[in-house]
């Protein structure tokens, strides 16, 4: 039966993809068919079925991706749809995608497909992860036992998937027959004898489904089997229940699982991974350890610091700011403006001190983009190498060791992506008090990814002492507030639910897509705000408000923090986006307007400074204006207090960085 509006070659052979949920079935489907496919609801359901076309050596295949299932004895609408597709596509070939790490679950379906007698090929997917964990079954023995090809694949890397379509040309049905004991086997025989000769799938499979009480077969029975035969079938089932008990399906499943366990024992596993893998696994374990994890984190930060700070903030920013903008773009725009719009206002608006090109685009493209670009690449490596989940576990353990509530940790790690979204995450916490405290913690001390990138870039030019001071102060504040929060928040800590992937080399293609996706996200979100922020400064400058703001802020900015009055601008625009404020400070530092101590003081202050506009709006939305104003009234003086304490403390100690 065809569904939806799929346009498929009528001569195409049909291949049905079947498998458990989350085994990479859709990735295999995408690899076989390409990107554009047809999606339709299965008739009478909300379940989506995806169809696509694949070609191999002149043969056209219609590929049907079915919903993930745990069994073909349906317990859910998804499972019923998958089973029905198998029954209503006579002559179709089946490609079962298995999870190499969990063959016990996958083989439950293989047994049922074997009983159905459908032509079958097994794609044993995620073979790389199974090998890394040392649980990869020996496929040659699996092929022998089932009599069908079993191909190791890593679908996300397109490994092994090119072998699948050629095998679909002449597939055969799997061989094994699980024996369910004398009583059930006798009932199966009687049930098979009552079934019509031309069943859509193997009679044994149908007989077992009927004995297990599969009501979803009723429409097919009504269509295909005379009424008196259906009554006889019911009698066969009732007699079996009388002999073996009500739970026929349970007994059948238990027999299958015992059979699979024996089989897996006989198959054994591929030889242990090479020593290098052991080393990676050992490193992976140490990275989660609360003691050894800290020096590993320090090493990772050092690498990030070199890559983002030295390469991104040093070499790339010089290239973009001095060459691209300084030598080419700004003079070109100034030249064009002088000729096309020869008014001082237009020149100022575009290339003046608060110009759209000279400041907004220059900050966004020439300063922040190279830094966050390298940072995003580094962050992607941390994600794809499997380090990030380990960092989360290690931080969780450290926090618990010092008595902090686990609930305080999760939003802080999420805040490294986006503080605004992490603030929304606090909804998962149970009480209002919890939500307010964690929101405050986020607004106060967790830099978002873009701001962290710029800060790392600035710190790299100062040296290790400045970085350690910044990091220690920030961690100290977070730990202190986290500890206090854990004392105030009652109840048990909530544990992470993380699947720890193996440590592995990131794939270049994945990294490129991931980094570009983040850069595109940054450009879409940041550039308009940079333009708005610059416009605000431009208008404020023209109206004389900027001077007024600098005069008002002077006792704080100049008196307490000992920063130049112009750094007021950075704190003002930092309210729109934290990375924009940091970029303003970066520009000043690069122009030699800040001493090393001033850089450290300004970075500590702007990291702890009031959250960005989007975050503040979310705080208002989540907790109301009173709480938001209260937080702002705490954070603002607190950030200045810590900044000025560092300033005076360093001067008193004679530290210049």
């Amino acid at each position: 039966m065809r569904t939806g509006t799929a346009r498929v070659d009528p001569q195409a052979a049909t291949v049905i993809l079947v498998g458990n949920p989350n085994v990479g079935k859709s990735v295999v489907f995408g690899t076989l068919t390409g990107r554009y496919v047809n999606v339709s609801n299965y008739p009478g359901t909300t379940v989506e079925i995806t169809r696509g076309e694949a070609r191999d050596r002149g043969t056209v295949y219609e590929i049907i991706d079915t919903p993930g299932v745990y069994s073909l004895l349906p317990m859910s609408e998804d499972e019923r749809v998958t089973r029905d597709i198998l029954m209503r596509e006579p002559g179709a070939r089946v490609l079962q995608v298995c999870d190499a790490k969990n063959m016990r679950r996958s083989l439950m379906i293989t047994i049922q497909l074997a009983e159905m007698g459908v032509p079958l090929v097994l794609a044993v997917n995620m073979a790389d992860e199974a090998r890394e964990r040392g649980v990869m079954p020996r496929l040659e023995l699996l092929e022998e036992r089932f009599g069908v090809p079993a191909i190791p694949t890593v679908a996300v890397r397109k490994k092994g998937t090119d072998r699948l379509l050629p095998l679909m040309a002449h597939p055969v049905a799997a061989a094994p027959r699980v024996r369910y004991g004398d009583r059930i086997e006798a009932a199966i025989d009687r049930m098979e004898a009552l079934l019509p000769p031309d069943t859509p799938v193997g009679r044994r499979a149908l007989a077992i489904m009927l004995l297990c009480g599969d009501d979803s077969l009723s429409p097919w029975l009504a269509e295909s089997v005379p009424g008196h035969r259906v009554r006889e079938m019911n009698e066969v089932r009732n007699r079996l229940i009388g002999e073996a008990g009500e739970d026929i399906a349970y007994q059948v499943n238990q027999t299958r699982l015992a059979w699979i366990d024996r089989l897996l024992g006989e198959l054994g596993q591929e030889p242990a991974p090479p020593a290098g893998r052991d080393l990676a696994q050992r490193f992976g374990s140490l990275a989660m350890d609360p003691v050894y994890g800290i020096p590993i984190l320090a090493g990772v930060l050092l690498l990030a610091y070199g890559f983002v700070g030295v390469f991104g903030a040093g070499y790339l920013v010089d290239l973009f700011e001095e060459v691209l903008f300084g030598r080419w773009l700004v003079p070109a725009v100034a030249w064009a403006v002088d000729r096309v719009l020869p008014w001082p206002f237009a020149r100022d608006f575009l290339v003046g001190p608060y110009g759209m090109v000279s400041m907004a685009l220059s900050y966004a493209i020439a300063i922040v983009l190279p830094i966050v670009g390298t940072f995003f690449l580094g962050f992607g490596i941390l994600e794809d190498s499997g380090y990030l989940p380990r960092l989360a576990v290690m931080v969780d353990k450290v926090f618990k060791k010092i008595g902090c509530n686990g609930k305080a940790v999760l939003p802080m790690i999420l805040g490294l992506g986006c503080d605004t979204m992490a603030t929304l995450t606090t909804r998962i916490l149970e009480t209002r008090k919890e939500r307010v405290i964690i929101t405050l913690l986020l607004a106060l001390g967790v830099p978002c990814s873009a701001q962290l990138g710029v800060i790392l870039g600035m710190l790299a030019s100062l040296g290790l002492a400045a970085t350690v001071t910044w990091l220690a102060l920030l961690l100290g504040v977070i730990l202190l507030v986290g500890y206090l929060a854990s004392k105030v928040i009652p109840g048990e800590s909530s544990d992470f639910i993380l699947e720890i992937p193996p440590i592995r080399w990131p794939q270049i293609g994945n990294l490129a897509v991931k980094t570009m996706a983040r850069i595109e996200w940054y450009l879409r979100e940041a550039v308009p705000l940079f333009l708005v922020g610059t416009l605000v400064l431009f208008v404020a400058d023209r109206m004389g408000w900027l001077l007024l703001a600098r005069n008002v802020a002077e006792p704080l900015i100049v008196g307490a923090l000992d920063l130049p009055p112009q750094s007021t601008d950075a704190f003002l625009i930092g309210f729109l986006r934290r990375d924009y404020g940091a970029a303003g400070l970066y520009d000043m530092a690069k122009a030699g307007m800040l001493t090393n101590l001033q850089v450290v003081v300004s970075l500590i202050t702007i990291t702890l400074f009031i959250p960005c506009l989007a975050n503040l709006l979310v705080i208002i939305k989540e907790h109301g204006p009173k709480v938001a104003v209260g937080m702002a009234l705490f954070i603002f003086p607190f950030a200045l207090l810590v900044g000025s304490a560092v300033n005076f403390g360093a001067r008193w100690l004679g530290v210049r960085f």
């Binding site: 999760l410 639910i497 595109e520």
Partner: protein, 68 residues
């Protein structure tokens, strides 16, 4: 209905595999309109959809041949 079905994606933090449609963070955030972040339904980690227009464009310049 005819169109592209986005594949499931894996959360880089907790490894949960989920369908990213309707998982955008946009509903709660004032920056939502232009934001392509998605939130993992299990751990709430936010990250951009692993799709890049630039890379798609570059790929379109060098189309792969059809499978032999």
């Amino acid at each position: 209905m005819e169109g592209r079905k986005p594949g499931n994606i894996r959360c880089p933090l907790c490894q949960h595999v989920f369908d990213p449609s309707d998982r955008g963070c946009r509903t709660g955030c004032p920056m939502g309109k232009s934001c392509s972040l998605v939130c993992c339904p299990r751990c709430r980690y936010s990250f951009p959809m692993p799709e890049s227009k630039v890379i798609d464009f570059l790929k379109s310049l060098f189309p792969k041949g059809t499978r032999a």
